[in-house]
Symmetry: C2
Subunit: 331 residues, 2 copies
DNA sequence: TCTATTGATTAGAGCGCTCTAATCTTGTAG
DNA sequence: CTACAAGATTAGAGCGCTCTAATCAATAGA
């Protein structure tokens, strides 16, 4: 059996309560006793039982994180960042994945809640708003990459409209006039990116071209094929704003397959600045929504609620930035 | 305050113990009472407190997972798989990252242990063997992508030697004779991959060429530059076996930059079959070490120990497979 | 010398649950 | 009817810790 506080107390010749104080490094313990307790603990290999502590103190150092899809590097980055912040603040992360399915996600969320965490971060959840409400009744909840009206939850989102505008401005600045958007369909945030694209184009007095696509490389390929079939060469858009990086990579493939060079013939802009985009082989110009900032803001918002420092909701809308690499050039 | 078992018991007009039985769906409860309890629980929105349960039952449904680097899609895949398996078996995952630093990882491990998990999975840990020993003393431990001598821990590894041999055989079968290996340096498993390469080459009566590199795309680029500087064109290796996919992508970049076409002039094989390799744009021929199987075996091994069904160590060595795509062709 | 006063220590209840052993119901056989 | 087994229910202790309130020791002030 693992040693308990009782064992340490006995060995150090003090009471259990004193050991408890030492373990929480309370200042009201004499140096002599503290040393004795620490030595006894060391000798026994004692380690406090987090769950017992949590139960007794009626506080939790556990933060639940629900990840829509861990395989998506975007979320992996956020989780890493969240973990660093949590570690530093003395919290522990419990992770769960919803596997993109509302049912599975709801289960996962339920599971998370049964730990009575101090708070929960939901990364791009797909459960209905009502489920989020239920969770919010139990502990502070922060939503990342998903909006909410409820005043009990905070949100951290990327300004997708601004991001698309950034891409359009960049291309227009390079002299492009015929620019198409490869839309993300029903994916999270896709609607805003499309809207931003359209608005920005009209702002430049240009006609927005939108091709329905998906946030995958195959989606990008298909969308480009569709473009190639629709437009004759001279009318073909010279600039492409993809819904995300994967889509952009697929688009580039299809373009090259058709004998068009990137960026000489067609410029392509991605979205998300995944590690993929940074790969020298691709060197994709893309829009960066600072995951680091998103994670940090989400964590801060959560901790504020956990500490009870704030009750009004907070709505972070991060301004994305343009990362120029090698897939865009003058028209 | 969240409702407790006591509240449910009161509302249903039964004892706390009966509620406990219902919650653990014990068969020894009459249908009438069960229904009454469930209804009361429903009405109160009661949810069992996992930590209290764990404390009282002296059992844990928590499995700790220590991830070397979440950003690495390889681990993300394994975690997803592990999560699915755990969910199905009624366990919950607690996650922690070591951020590739032994110190941070040791902290993370410590943290994991303070939850008194039922078991722990370490994904490619970098802490010293002694640290793993310490952990193994507290609960069952399974190592993935790391070997161990200790009889208290199980291991699941990819047979790196066999994987490299697969790559070599493939290239030799395509008529290549001058083949170089871009070595992963000190990365996990790199030594075995190198060894496998050398053995396989000698087995074919060929002289192994090994270039020291890294498991990154920049590493691959540099290694190819080194090759280009060392060999005159006609003597240049026509086949490359990279330490991993990232490295292969970098190598391809450098080759194309130097005016060499892949696979017409040089064939390249990666390792790991990451989602990157599957990208149509790259279509990298690579070695697949089934993450699904690795995760499954790791989980099974862990659960067996948790259930006390086995005490002798188990050493899984998975046989990788070759995935032929578009970066390899006849010499 | 005696009482405050401060600081260090501890007893003991209790967090929400499980588990064993005891108690209470039934149904059935004698 | 009584006795008893089998099934259903519950009392109560305890998991490892925290926390409040009480106790104890030591110093200072009068």
């Amino acid at each position: 059996m693992r040693p308990t506080m009782e064992d340490v107390a006995a060995r150090a010749g003090v009471s259990r309560a004193l050991v408890s104080l030492v373990m929480r490094n309370s200042p009201k313990v004499s140096d002599t006793r503290r040393a004795a307790v620490l030595r006894a603990a060391e000798e026994l290999g004692y380690q406090p039982h987090l769950m017992a502590r949590s139960l007794a103190s009626r506080t939790s150092t556990v933060l639940g994180v629900m990840v829509n899809d861990l395989r998506n590097a975007f979320f992996a980055d956020i989780v890493e960042e969240l973990d660093t912040a949590a570690q530093a603040a003395g919290f522990d992360l419990i992770l769960n994945t919803g596997g993109r399915s509302p049912t599975r996600e709801w289960n996962a969320l339920h599971n998370l809640l049964s730990f009575r965490p101090a708070g929960i971060v939901l990364l791009s959840p797909v459960v209905p708003a009502s489920a989020i409400q239920v969770a919010a009744k139990q502990c502070p909840v922060v939503l990342v990459s998903r909006t909410a009206r409820a005043s009990t939850v905070d949100t951290v989102n990327d300004d997708g409209e601004a991001g698309s505008a950034l891409a359009v401005d960049h291309l227009v600045g390079l002299g492009h006039r015929r620019i198409a958007h490869l839309d993300g369909g029903g994916a999270a945030g896709a609607a805003q990116r499309r809207r931003g694209f359209e608005t920005a184009m009209r702002g430049h007095g240009l006609e927005p071209i939108v091709v329905r696509s998906e946030h995958t490389d195959v989606g990008g390929e298909n969308a480009v094929r569709e473009l190639l079939a629709t437009y004759s060469r001279p009318d073909l858009p010279t600039g492409l704003v993809s819904g995300n990086d994967f889509n952009a990579v697929g688009a580039i493939s299809a373009l090259e397959e058709a004998g068009l060079r990137v960026p000489e013939d067609v410029s392509v802009v991605g979205y998300d600045n995944t590690s993929l985009a940074a790969l020298r082989h691709l060197s994709l110009t893309t829009i960066d929504q600072s995951r680091k900032d998103m994670a940090r803001l989400a964590f801060e918002a959560l901790i504020e609620r956990v500490r009870g420092e704030r009750t009004e909701p907070v709505r972070h809308l991060l301004h994305p930035s343009l990362v120029v690499r090698a897939t865009t050039a003058r028209a």
